[in-house]
Symmetry: C2
Subunit: 208 residues, 2 copies
């Protein structure tokens, strides 16, 4: 470190700051590796390596592997909140929803390679007899459903909650297909269709 600031950061507040930093690195690594490899095939050693933390030390920060899964879920929730927070700056709810779809399409390569982080995690956690964490993954999805439902309600559309389910289902479905077929273009084409669908909802019923 050449800068004084860097030096100060590294050695003057070592204890709490560095500890918090390791925790943060482990959380970020967990979110990434669990997404890429899945829960069952990911070892603590994998996460420790990516976080650049010695294996045995992991247990100082997280008592069990499940706590790392939970940390990954919090990370995904935080990312979601950050995205919806930015979209909330837009005044038109329809534009907010379109912005959400654009964000999904923007991550098409990740989706085609590893699927939706929350969706694939939900699938894996739901397979466990020990149902300690599967509700947690559902909660992240519900958070997205609530936000989307809020936008549809603001647009005065009928059955806003059902519309939110349709939108999020479409996203999960196209992510799954893009992943299974390893084809990011699916995200692009289906994203376009979703935008048209949103526009068609505003068109009033033409029957007398």
């Amino acid at each position: 470190m050449l800068s004084i600031v860097g030096w100060v950061t590294d050695s003057v507040k070592p204890r709490a700051a560095r500890a918090a930093d390791k925790r943060r690195r482990l959380t970020a690594a967990a979110a990434q590796v669990l997404h890429e490899q899945g829960v069952e095939r990911t070892t603590l050693a994998d996460i420790a390596r990516v976080a650049d933390v010695p294996v045995g030390n992991v247990y100082y920060y997280f008592k069990t592997k499940d706590e790392l899964v939970q940390a990954a879920l919090s990370e995904h929730t935080a990312h979601l909140d950050e995205l919806t927070g930015r979209l909330d700056q837009l005044s038109d709810p329809l534009e907010r929803l379109k912005g959400l779809i654009e964000a999904w399409v923007g991550r098409r390569d990740i989706a085609a390679r590893y699927g939706c982080p929350t969706g694939t995690l939900a699938v894996e956690l739901d397979k466990r007899a020990d149902g300690t964490l599967d509700a947690e993954a559902g909660a992240v999805i519900r958070r997205l459903l609530d936000w989307a439902g809020h936008q549809f309600r603001a647009l005065d559309l009928p059955d806003p909650d059902d519309l939110a389910v349709t939108l999020v289902s479409a996203y999960q479905g196209m992510s799954l297909l893009a992943n299974a077929l390893r084809d990011p273009d699916i995200m692009t084409r289906q994203g376009t269709r979703l935008i048209h669908w949103l526009d068609s909802l505003k068109a009033p019923d033409r029957t007398p």
Copy 2:
């Protein structure tokens, strides 16, 4: 066994017949248990127990666990072919597609508890670095896409393959959400929306 037929079946053709039977039982058990528990959390002992076959004996029929996964995928393909074969009896392609949706909704409780058998399997297999089987799951999905695309083409609709992707995506998405939120009603409500969507495709463009 009281009937002569039963007795004959049990003891006169023991070798090949009984062997084929065990193989069939193991395949069916694999399809069921792998769906319910997922690949990684399922042990060979689990499958052997459900199939009522001694653990060590499994290796006589399937040399590796992966071969059992492959057998499960074949089972799902067979079920799919049986369903589409029945739907092909209907003369109207639109009715065939509606029949498909009705079949999905009919299995809503299974979907809410364990998700779509093929979809969740695809998610799990895609997480494996060793990409030996993930293409296989994609092939089953593609088989469904092809059949659906064929129907849309028969209806003379534009971009039939994209429409097929939209339909199958919707199914995978609603299954995932129904599963994550443990709510079979999602299947019912989204199924209704899908039927309306199909009907709306037939309505000609009203703009001049």
